[in-house]
Symmetry: C2
Subunit: 596 residues, 2 copies
């Protein structure tokens, strides 16, 4: 397997050239004093080093060894605790955290790229700080000052970790039916009892404490999702002075044996009358989770990109090294027995597909991160509202589309390896096993698609969608005089028209039958993703065209070629998706349950 090389050149291109981050940061109340390009680039460079030298070397060994569960105690694979100590010493757990409580306050545009590198090197490892950051985000947004001051500094430093406890054996997607109970105590705390499953980082030996955010219901809570509250439940109780007290009644029932991310501990957590504290308002627990979820879902989307980038680097190295067969146009390597397989068009098709997805995905994840940053750091109400709408619309797309492309790219990269791709030793098959979970957790991709189609598009009659369509259309119009860009803006104009047409179609159809939403949703999200990527590629091509002349490095010329491959070869998938969506729900609802 190739050593991981952080794609810093492309990251700078996206950050500085495509999205002009410096201009953005200077314009936002919350970043203008604190963030600049030099800081950003220094952070990214350092993160690239951490990824390559600290996390990459324990990726495969972590997979082979997996986590252990012995006598109630979870231990991570060899090398993980040491790497974690170095990682937290670098302050990485607090990168996006509240600066008043020890966080670094960096925007998500930087955080997203850091996450990409960390997860490219080691998805299992990356999950521990990802969960901590997510839990800290929810605490920072919704908990009392007392809780924030007591818990956040140690979470930002990474000395304590975080976990999100939502799922129960009978309740995953449908959180309205959870059974975990919280009973109020006289001192304002609650006694939490119940079992949670699939808890990532639910326990481990990396940190001194694990701070659980647990969804539970009060005995008299309303039925369904409106009766869910959120509680902070530490594994070890914390004294007034911040020192660790007694163990809380929180224990690990077992850890799961999984297809992949084997070095990430996935726990069954038992809360047997554990002491917890309310976060946010009673019965508003789901809303509190959703603040955090936009960030988490972007981070999971980025896992897809991360694995895909890794797959690309591996497959390119193999395609250059492996000699087999001859180029169709005659030997490229006449003194050797065969040519490197990168001469073959079909191998190039696979590599270019992955490359186009990765660079499109890197731009798209930064674009979504940019909207998250505007929503968080702007002091302009209108601008914030616009950003909130874009975040709401695009979050399910970035989560599902990037992770679906992630699996596709890892499988395709494995295909480049031929038989060696199936052998553990080569490391490529681990990527396939690891990335697969990203399509499932944090809301399956089917749920993301329902969220997009139902709540984010149909429910507001396309209001959020119109913001996106307007932005794209304005981009096309603003560049109508740019003849060199037409090969990208013309397909983009068609793509957004197609998506708008389908959007209108589904909104209308679903007024007649609510089943139209679920019948369209997954294909619609895919269609949205291909359209959004086309927008990203047109934006990137614009910058590349402006800079290609005199570029001795060749970066911009390659960018233009990749853009061309995307719009010509990959965008046609949108034709099929639009056609399929329009056939509606009738065929799939025609069968009774027994006919399956």
């Amino acid at each position: 397997m190739a050593d991981y090389k952080a794609p810093l050149r492309d990251m700078r291109f996206v950050l500085n050239e495509v999205f002009e981050a410096e201009k953005l940061w200077a314009s936002l109340a919350g970043t203008k004093e604190t963030v600049d390009v030099e800081t950003a680039e220094a952070i990214l460079e350092e993160a690239g080093k951490i990824a390559s030298t600290l996390l990459d070397p324990i990726n495969r060994s972590g997979d082979e060894e997996g986590c252990h569960f012995d006598d109630g105690v979870v231990t991570t694979p060899k090398g993980f605790p040491e790497a974690y100590r170095t990682f937290i010493e670098g302050g990485w757990c607090g990168l996006g955290g509240n600066p008043e409580l020890g966080g670094m306050g960096m925007p998500k545009m930087i955080g997203a790229q850091v996450e990409e590198m960390v997860q490219s090197a080691n998805i299992s490892f990356g999950l521990y700080p990802m969960l901590t950051a997510g839990a800290a985000l929810a605490i920072n947004a919704h908990a009392t000052d007392e809780l924030k001051e007591k818990y956040l500094p140690n979470m930002y430093s990474g000395v304590w970790a975080g976990a999100m406890d939502l799922t129960e054996p009978h309740s995953g997607t449908d959180l309205g039916i959870i059974k975990t109970k919280a009973v109020p105590n006289d001192d304002g705390s609650y006694t939490v009892t119940g079992t949670k499953i699939f808890i990532t980082g639910g326990d481990h030996d990396l940190s001194d404490n694990v701070i659980h955010l647990v969804l539970a219901k009060l005995p008299d809570a309303p039925a369904g999702p409106r009766g869910i509250s959120l509680f902070l439940v530490p594994k070890i109780l914390v004294n007034e002075d911040g020192s660790l007290a007694d163990r809380n009644n929180v224990s690990v029932g077992s850890i799961e044996h999984k297809m992949g991310i084997k070095a990430s501990a996935t726990c069954v957590m038992n809360f047997d009358g554990a002491q917890g504290w309310l976060v946010g308002e009673l019965n508003k627990g789901l809303a509190c989770m959703f603040t955090m979820m936009n960030y988490e879902r972007l981070a999971v989307g980025i896992q897809g990109l991360s694995a895909s980038e890794r797959s690309y680097q591996n497959a390119v190295e193999y395609a250059n090294d492996r000699i087999q067969g001859r180029a169709a146009t005659g030997p490229a390597n006449p003194d050797k027995a065969a040519d490197p397989i990168i001469v073959h068009p079909d191998v190039r098709r696979m590599l270019l597909t992955i490359k186009a997805y990765n660079e499109g995905g890197r731009a798209f994840s930064s674009y979504v991160a940019r909207w998250l940053d505007i929503a968080k750091f702007s002091d302009n109400t209108e601008e914030k509202a616009h950003a909130d709408a874009m975040v709401a619309l695009l979050t399910p797309v970035v989560k599902a589309f990037l992770t679906d492309r992630g699996l596709e790219s890892c499988v395709m990269g494995q295909q480049v390896f031929g038989g060696h791709g199936f052998i553990r030793e080569w490391g490529q098959e681990q990527l396939v096993r690891d990335v697969r979970i990203a399509q499932i957790y944090e809301g399956t991709n089917g749920i993301q698609a329902l969220d997009l189609m139902g709540r984010k598009v149909v429910a507001n009659n396309g209001k959020f969608y119109e913001l996106f369509a307007k932005e794209v259309t304005e981009f096309v119009e603003a560049n109508s005089a740019n003849a060199a860009l037409t090969e990208f803006t013309a397909p983009l104009a068609k793509a957004i028209e197609r998506l708008s047409d389908v959007t209108e179609h589904v909104i209308k159809a679903s007024a007649q039958s609510p089943e139209e939403i679920g019948a369209a949703s997954v294909d619609y999200l895919d269609l949205f993703g291909f359209t959004a990527f086309t927008y990203m590629w047109a934006k990137m091509a614009k910058v590349a065209l402006e800079n290609v002349e005199g570029d001795t490095e060749g970066f911009y010329a390659t960018k233009i070629k990749t853009a061309r491959f995307f719009v010509n070869r990959l965008l046609p998938k949108s034709l099929a998706l639009a056609e399929a969506i329009k056939t509606g729900s009738a065929d799939m609802m025609a069968l009774s349950a027994e006919e399956f």
Copy 2:
């Protein structure tokens, strides 16, 4: 995980109703005396039992335990040797074998369905007899009578197993550069020396002997593929009287640790001056392999179908059991906390996609098997030549298209399971890991696509393709008066027109640039597959429409609904494929190797 239930009803439908096997068998010289529907159905029923009761129960345990390699000796997981003994006692290894030497002489149309059931229950197990059958086929077709009489009876009985030794560390797809040497001995045998990798069933504890078919080169052989010969090299030498003699110089270097099919021993084989015997003519080894490969490639395609069928059965059971959320049109299950997830359109979309692929794939694999049977059992030269052409054309399609759909269906079934799909205990993730290899071995799917596009279509200027197109067009025309069938024949007519158009386009384009073949190939094979499946679905719908009235079982009504889902929802993919193919090779050849 659901217990495996053999889809016997659908198999009978395909065999008897869609392809009227009895009529076919009665018409062929080689089957008219020996095969009838009663025998076929008895065999299929028994195979279904073997699959469910013997092979299914050791599938997951086999995956968990894997094969062992200790001190040069390979052992299979617990229960495998016992199950193998029962399996061979049933005579299953000789099902398609030469009846003069102990085989049962059954047609591949039966064998294909048996293979489907065996592999649905346990892909790892199924590989052992599959490899034996393949090796026996090559020996029967090309070896001397002496070799045939010495080896085949024990291979048909399964007392000895077979293995195919092609790949070397530096030589997989490109067999022309193999290094294994064969030096003639005075007694007519050869001394074989070299190392082979990825040898499925290269050694194990199931049988008393392993008969290797090894590709090697004589010292003075021509360079490249025209200098390859095929040798029979037994693990243990065999005396004149058929008893076992000394161990040959054949040893196992190691076994591979793989992503899946862990209970199938994948060996590094060392031949250190092993004694072997020529099979077929000198330097014609590849041609001898190809006789067998059409059968093996169909069998591997069927592995995709097998896993997909299993995925379907599991996912349907889960979708009926798991309650989560409410139907869009109101509670279906008002006295419970939630509805079974099979009420949700998106879950139905996934299940119906898998179902449509499976039933299409079952028909298509039987269709290809039918051509193999005509080629083998007919005594009419013209009919044989036609069948040979169809086999040549369709083999790469059935291998690649069914295995690609296999992965897609296993991933989709896993998605139905949500988080449980990622947990080993549930068994669904094993399917994904097991089926993945089928896209890689026996010639990667990329190689299948090149074989189809280059050798089977472009090289003969579309001659074989025309046979297929003519058959489909004739079917459409013959049914033009069937108004009820129009919803299937109209899309079929369009699909075959589209495929013919693309075929012509690529033939022309490749005359200008040979790279057009590789640029089109994978998408072309996919387009071919969707078209062939549409043909299968139209044929099945025709029979179903003829029988739907008065069918109390509901089989035919469901068949028609599934056909409708296929043509409406899945066939649109062909639009995108045709469009993508036409963009040609320029974009993918534009990058230098360094630009990747």
